[in-house]
Amino acid sequence: MSEDITEKPAPEQRLNLLKNRVKPTLLLAVGLGIASGFVLIAQALIVAGLVHRVMIDGSGYREVLPQLLWLPPLMLARAGLSWISERVAFAASATIRQEVRNDLFQRLLDAGPLQLKGDRAGEVATVIVDGVEALEGYYSRYLPHLAVMAVVPLSILAAVVPADWISAGIMLFSAPFIPFFTILIGRGAERLNQRQWQTLARLGGYFLDRVNGLATLRMFNASRREAEMIARISDDYRRATMSVLYMAFLSALVLEFFATVSVALMAVVIGFRLLKGGMAFQDGFTVLLLAPEFYLPLRLMGNYYHARMEAIGAAERIFNLLDTPLAPRPAAPHPLPPVSPLRICLEDVCFRYSPDSPPVIDGVTLNLAQGERVALVGPSGAGKSTLAALLLGFALPEQGRVLINGVDLAQCDLDQWRRHVAWVPQSPHLFHGTIGDNIRLGRQDATDTDVLQAASRARCGEFIARLPQGLDTVIGEQGAGLSGGQARRIALARVFLKDSPLIITDEPTAGLDAHSETLVREALGELAQGRTVLSIAHRLATLEDTDRVVVMSGGRIIEQGHYDDLKGAGGLFARMAAAGEGA
């Protein structure tokens, strides 16, 4: 009914398209709902006939026994139908939610880490978990009910017309007002609801943000002040919610007003017709029994309308995420050429994060030969980390190509390529789980011996051995419970466990003291034997044993060559070197 009057917003059209995935299940739920409506009509007819015979005809048990015996099975049948339809409708919504949630997560993985710039993880997780949950009512209640609502009241009307046409007239006259007002008020509420979802998300984000930053708040003695802010924001939330609810309740009020007053009116009209002998009691009573049931689906529509609005509010964010742009991928990726020996060429590569932002990589051409150790240096923001991301296939160049033994990486299976690359990022992520699981990230089947060996080569074997639970020690998110250096070395252990011909490190010793740095450098040196290494370097001291130093600035390579040559060349590198340590 709502379809005729409201212009459907885009999210709802897409919600409706999803419905097709579970069409048979939804149709079954609708069928069961309608069957239950027919049982109800039969029940009312029997009760009215029975009471009529007892009260007017003066019958006793013997005369009305068949009717009396018919009633309990019918009631039982209704209960059964209601149970099954509930299960079926839920199954439909569960299938859709399951698929949407999995699709969302997969889409974000496909889009790659650079799409989650600015660490929107918390907000996005809320959409994936809570946003998808908000779709439940749309498929399990709103849609099935929409169909039931179209059939059951009409059937009741058909049963009432022969009994009392005046009451049928009242029903026919009053019924359209109910959806009309629902939609009129619902449209206003819909606009409000979009705002409420935003407020809700803001509140959720605010709360998580402040809780995550509690330590910082306490450092600045701002944490108690924040309690008042949270009180205020919670109050805003209450206001936003209530402003939606006032409207929702108002529409419920209108619905109930029409339904209740119509039933009352019918009772009074029937009473007077009976007094004047204008109709049989049996017919009057049938109408009285069916009248509330006629309005019930219409009234329930008001409740489900709320579920619909909630789903539409969430749908917009869900579809936004599902529409996260993907870099074009070949339908049938080229097989990766043999990687031994490994030659990597970057050909005039350009990259920017979004079409309207300045290029981060601006025409870089670079060759890496098998076994070569190359260091990338340059001021922060020079594009060093982005270059590493391009080599790892986290993003594809906007212009130019990354060639692996002559084959364009953009045309290859990226997972296959990454199997040959070991990577140590600037701030490694440790997963909620055990230390062992974290080291096993790239090789699930590694034995404890392998893991411990990798750990000791990464110089974290010793402190792991000191932990009471060793490798099974559970660490929190972001490596809570470990020092920065320990977390870094656990991430290094991952690399040792993974036997790859190319190693990319992003400032692997930043934050480590000189002592640990020596150890890590030794270990990396050991690992580098016979492999190609690209290291984003921070300290000049780490550059001496590299084959080549590449100096980047503003997304371009401005000089490259051997450490000693560059030091004497009088360029940016020489100036950086003169400044002391670090680059």
Partner: protein, 574 residues
């Protein structure tokens, strides 16, 4: 049960709102049941009067029907508004309550919770407490009061009908919800648990996506999300099935009540001890009475889930802070003379982290702490900030043991730029002003200038109004660090603590940054934890830490001359 009592206690301040909601829902319920029963009686009586030609006063019943119809409609609206107001006010109160409870726990006691999980605990769990008040407490009280009144009313006409209806009400409102609750308890608890795990898995998968892709583990994380998702929905399906059983069950009981009322009344009508209209009224009354217990089965179905959420919230709220505040805190001292003598500390389950630390911080004195990672430098900072309690030795401020001061008093004297600075989901300005909300624009810019970050901020299109944190502009590690330094400087405290201030900053910039910081710190106490040797020559004292002990101390020049170990640390950089 203890949890329920505790929940009730938290609701006590809102009792006026809650009892108003209860009263209104009783009025609405009576109006509705009365309307149906009276309508039935009315048409039956009118029909008999019509047939027998007896006179009947129809004014009062007709007016009654209209009054009940309008009373019911308005009553329902008022009840909804009042009960939602009550519930939302309560929720806002709960949010603040839980925040105040966990605030003293940060950061020491919260480290073991993953942040995604913590979010779930606090927000989702509090939201699910919504169920307790709106869908549990209120319906139970309403059902209890109204059922008793209904039975009394029926008893007046016929005790057998009253007993039969009472028994069915008990079945629909008592046994059915109880059975549903018992069956739903396990899946309900699992739903809470699984959705928390799902959230953690999603957050972990998004934050750690680079590693997952690089190590070919993305598929595994996806499988984990898919599996948790599947488990969540399977348990939800169980709960939905139970919901179907209870909805059907209440409908069945209400039908049976009507049926029993008829079965009992038929011989009485025949015998003349009950009139026909009374039979109609009783039958309809019995059927309608079940509206009172209609919300009970779904309410109890949610009980397991709600109690699991409540337990998690209470267990979090009941953690004891790492540092106990003094009963009668000492006054803010004039000069922040900090003296540590033989201070020791160990985390509960491990070897000593700090042993015999001696440290002097006084205005105009600059101290640097260097050493291997894991040497306990960050723990030292946590002790100074009163985030952790030292186990042994003495830590005094202006001559009094630091335990005698309130933690906030101690922190008022200190400004910190930590190693992993946190930026809030707010503008850069708001992030800076956290340190001192009343600071002027000029003071803020001056602080940013000292930290060497003002020019970069000014270059953003929105300047200081640029959003930061999650969903904000992406800042480099060096920029975040310098913002944190600016924030510490803006605080304008007599003690300045900087943890790795120059990491991620290039050497020449680091040098000039430290020069500006040193001149700002003139006359203040300065403690710098660092890995870089830049600026060490300007320090009054350098402490070399290893495995929780200070192994060497002296000026940079002295240490270079005296300690081979110290020289080795910097060898690489020369």
């Amino acid at each position: 049960m203890r949890d329920i009592l505790r929940l009730l206690k938290l609701a006590w301040p809102y009792r006026a709102w809650l009892s108003a909601a209860l009263g209104l829902s009783l009025v609405t319920l009576f109006a509705n049941v009365g309307l149906l029963a009276l309508s039935g009686w009315f048409i039956a009586a009118m029909a008999l009067a019509g047939i027998n030609g007896t006179p009947i006063n129809y004014h009062y019943p007709a007016a009654g029907i209209r009054t009940l119809a309008i009373g019911r409609t308005l009553g329902r609206y008022a009840e909804r508004v009042v009960s939602h107001q009550a519930s939302l006010r309560l929720l806002a109160g709960l949010r603040v309550w839980i925040y105040r409870r966990i605030e003293p726990l940060a950061p020491a006691r919260l480290e073991s919770y993953a942040s995604g999980d913590l979010l779930s605990r606090i927000r989702a769990d509090i939201d699910s407490l919504d169920n307790f008040y709106l869908r549990l407490l209120a319906p139970v009280l309403t059902a209890l009061c109204s059922s008793l009144l209904f039975i009394l009313f029926l008893w007046y006409f016929n005790s057998a009908v009253a007993l039969a209806t009472g028994a069915l009400l008990l079945a629909a409102g008592g046994f059915l919800p109880l059975a549903v609750h018992l069956l739903g308890r396990k899946p309900g608890a699992r739903v809470t648990q699984t959705s928390a795990e799902l959230r953690t898995a999603v957050v972990d998968g998004l934050r750690g996506m680079e590693e997952l892709l690089a190590y070919g583990a993305a598929g595994r994380q996806k499988e984990r999300v898919v599996e948790l998702n599947r488990r969540l929905l399977a348990d939800q399906a169980r709960l939905a099935g139970l919901a179907g059983v209870s909805a059907g069950g209440v409908g069945l009981c209400s039908g049976l009540a009507l049926w029993l009322a008829l079965v009992i009344s038929i011989p009485l009508v025949r015998a003349g001890s009950l009139t026909g209209p009374q039979m109609v009224m009783l039958a309809l009354f019995c059927q309608a009475a079940f509206e009172a217990v209609l919300p009970l089965p779904p309410a109890f179905r949610l009980l397991g889930q709600t109690l699991a959420a409540a337990r998690r919230i209470f267990s979090l709220a009941d953690e004891t802070p790492a540092v106990k505040e003094p009963r009668e805190p000492a006054q803010l001292p004039e000069t922040p003379l900090l003296t540590l003598r033989g201070v020791g500390f160990s985390y509960s389950d491990s070897a000593a982290t700090l042993v015999g630390i001696d440290l002097d911080l006084a205005p105009g004195r600059k101290v640097a702490v260097v050493g291997t990672s894991g040497a306990g430098k960050s723990t030292l900072l946590a002790l100074l900030l009163r985030f952790r309690e030292y186990d042994s030795g003495s830590m005094t401020m202006a001559g009094r043991e630091i335990r005698e001061y309130d933690g906030e008093t101690v922190r008022r004297l200190m400004a910190v730029a930590s190693q992993q600075p946190f930026l809030f989901n707010a503008t850069l300005r708001e992030n800076l002003l956290i340190a001192r909300p009343e600071a002027s624009e000029e003071e803020m810019i001056a602080a940013a200038d000292i930290a060497g970050v003002h020019d970069e901020i000014a270059a953003f299109a929105q300047g200081y109004d640029t959003p930061a944190g999650e969903g904000g502009v992406k800042l480099s590690g060096g920029q975040i660090r310098r913002l944190a330094i600016a924030r510490a400087i803006l605080k304008d405290s007599p003690v300045l603590l900087l943890d790795e201030p120059t990491e991620g900053v290039d050497a020449s910039a680091a040098r000039s940054l430290l020069e500006r910081v040193f001149s700002f710190a003139e006359g203040r106490a300065l403690l710098v934890i660092t890995h870089s040797r830049i600026g060490l020559e300007a320090m009054d004292e350098v402490l070399l830490m290893d495995e929780g002990r200070i192994v060497e101390r002296g000026s940079h020049a002295e240490l270079l001359a005296r300690s081979r170990r110290y020289r080795d640390m910097w060898e690489l950089d020369d």
